[in-house]
């Protein structure tokens, strides 16, 4: 899908699976697999640390992440200003992948919920962006909302680490950005809200989108994390903005990808305000 403009982003979809296979920003192609998974939460009696349930305070998955669906039903909406792929993975996971004319990013507008409560464990839903970048166990998060902090998988800078929780132990707060670097290449995911995120394999970024934990973790809330609205489980909707480019000023607009990310983050996190007014029945010529 392309609007044939130099600055436009592009995406490619596999028509057989409905999944994204490639994105293009800054006129650079990046092979990308994006899918949704969920972790099953640990269930315990909370009497010992090892029996602590996954809950509001504790992210404690049991086992590997489970893929939500192998394929997505999809429809294509192509237009002059915006083009979209509407993907439906199952009854409670869907997404719109979107590119705007003259904009140099790809938007993933995800919609999760109501999460089914058909098992004892609860579900913690993530999205995973898998690339071929060789990130060598390193990723970066802007955990304090300001500077980027270097994170190394299964590593702490001041002690020898033996992780008991391979997924949760590598999760970090993401205030607005998580990224990978490989040489001069940089792949960044900007979030519209604070989320937890990690890179559990080289070239991968994952972000936690929504959770339904059916057991309290005994840290004081005294309530399982099962929120409802309109007598149904909560639905969460949000966006990720993906940018790929060079860390030097060799991108088509002469800016580094970090500069582009900063401008994009300002545009999205401090977005222009929209106000509406009645024209009190006037036609355009009268109003003018």
């Amino acid at each position: 899908m392309s609007e044939n403009d130099i600055e436009d982003a592009e995406i490619q979809i596999n028509p057989a699976t409905g999944l994204v296979t490639q994105i293009t920003t800054n006129q650079r192609h990046l092979k990308l697999d994006q899918e949704f998974f969920y972790y099953k939460g640990f269930v315990g009696d909370n009497k010992k640390v090892t029996n602590r349930s996954s809950g509001a305070y504790i992210f404690r998955p049991t086992g590997e992440a489970v893929k939500v669906a192998e394929k997505a039903k999809f429809t294509l909406q192509k237009g002059f200003l915006v083009s979209e792929v509407h993907q439906q993975f199952n009854d409670w996971v869907s997404q719109i992948v979107r590119i705007y004319r003259n904009e140099n990013y790809v938007e993933f507008d995800w919609l999760i919920g109501p999460i089914p409560t058909d098992d004892a464990n609860g579900k913690e839903i993530i999205t995973r962006y898998k690339t071929s970048l060789n990130s060598d166990s390193v990723f970066y998060t802007d955990s304090n909302g300001r500077e980027l902090i270097k994170r190394v998988r299964n590593f702490r800078p001041t002690w020898k680490l033996k992780l008991q929780e391979p997924a949760a132990g590598n999760y970090y707060p993401v205030t607005s950005k998580i990224l990978l670097r490989s040489g001069q290449d940089e792949f960044a995911v900007l979030t519209d809200r604070a989320q937890g995120g990690s890179s559990l394999s080289d070239g991968e970024i994952e972000l936690m989108l929504h959770r339904e934990c059916l057991h309290d973790d005994s840290f004081g809330v005294g309530e399982a994390l099962v929120e409802k609205a309109f007598n149904k489980g909560l639905v969460a909707r949000g966006s990720h903005y993906l940018v790929y480019g060079s860390t030097s000023n060799t991108n088509p607009d002469g800016r580094s990808v970090a500069t582009q990310e900063r401008v994009l983050a300002q545009n999205k996190l401090l977005s222009a305000w929209t106000f509406l007014s009645s024209t009190q029945g006037l036609s355009f010529s009268e109003y003018k």
Binding site: H86, V235, L270, A272
Partner: protein, 182 residues
């Protein structure tokens, strides 16, 4: 300042209690939502007044002796579920985009609307490109969504000055609605 205090108080309470992370009981979270909503209501008074002052012409600037239209500004807080009673029910309306940043900004505006055709004029009176795009099926089914909107009207608010605003005139047109194939 009085109009800002409710939201200030709400933010203070929520930051102190780590709200919206799920680490409060559900009915407390719902109460935070209520307090935040009240805060935003109060803030709307001050933004409305500020925009009215900024957008009104003074007597010296007026070349037209007719009284001008006084605009009241409102916001749509349910755009996250693609719902807005105002844009869905009005045949004509004005969209004002305010840029809170200290540099030029271009924004794609998305507004839920009912099935029809629309024209959009920019502040110079020029017709600008706009697009209607279907709202994705799962969004239409979000529990609690009460909306007849099945489309979103998209247009580009270009080059809004730092701390400035632009207003766009949106009008339903009588033309036939194109089918998906068209």
């Amino acid at each position: 300042r009085v109009d800002l205090n409710v939201l200030r108080g709400a933010m203070g309470v929520m930051q102190h209690h780590d709200a919206v992370t799920g680490t409060e009981k559900e009915h407390v979270a719902q109460d935070y939502t209520r307090i935040l909503s009240q805060g935003l209501d109060e803030c709307e008074i001050i933004t409305n007044e500020a925009l009215r002052q900024l957008s009104s012409t003074t007597d010296q600037q007026r070349v037209d002796p007719e009284p001008s239209v006084v605009l009241n500004f409102t916001t749509c807080r349910l755009l996250n579920v693609s719902q807005c009673e105002f844009t869905e029910t009005q045949d004509t309306f004005v969209v004002t985009i305010y840029n809170p940043l200290s540099r030029l900004v271009t924004k794609f505006v998305r507004l839920p609307v009912q099935k029809s055709n629309y024209t959009v004029h920019d502040p110079n009176g020029d017709l600008i490109p706009s697009q209607l795009i279907p709202i994705a099926e799962p969004i239409l089914k979000i529990p609690g969504r009460q909306s007849e909107a099945v489309l979103e009207l998209v247009f580009q608010a270009k080059d809004i000055s730092p701390l400035g605003f632009k207003s766009y005139f949106v009008q339903k047109s009588a033309e036939k609605v194109p089918t998906q194939e068209e």
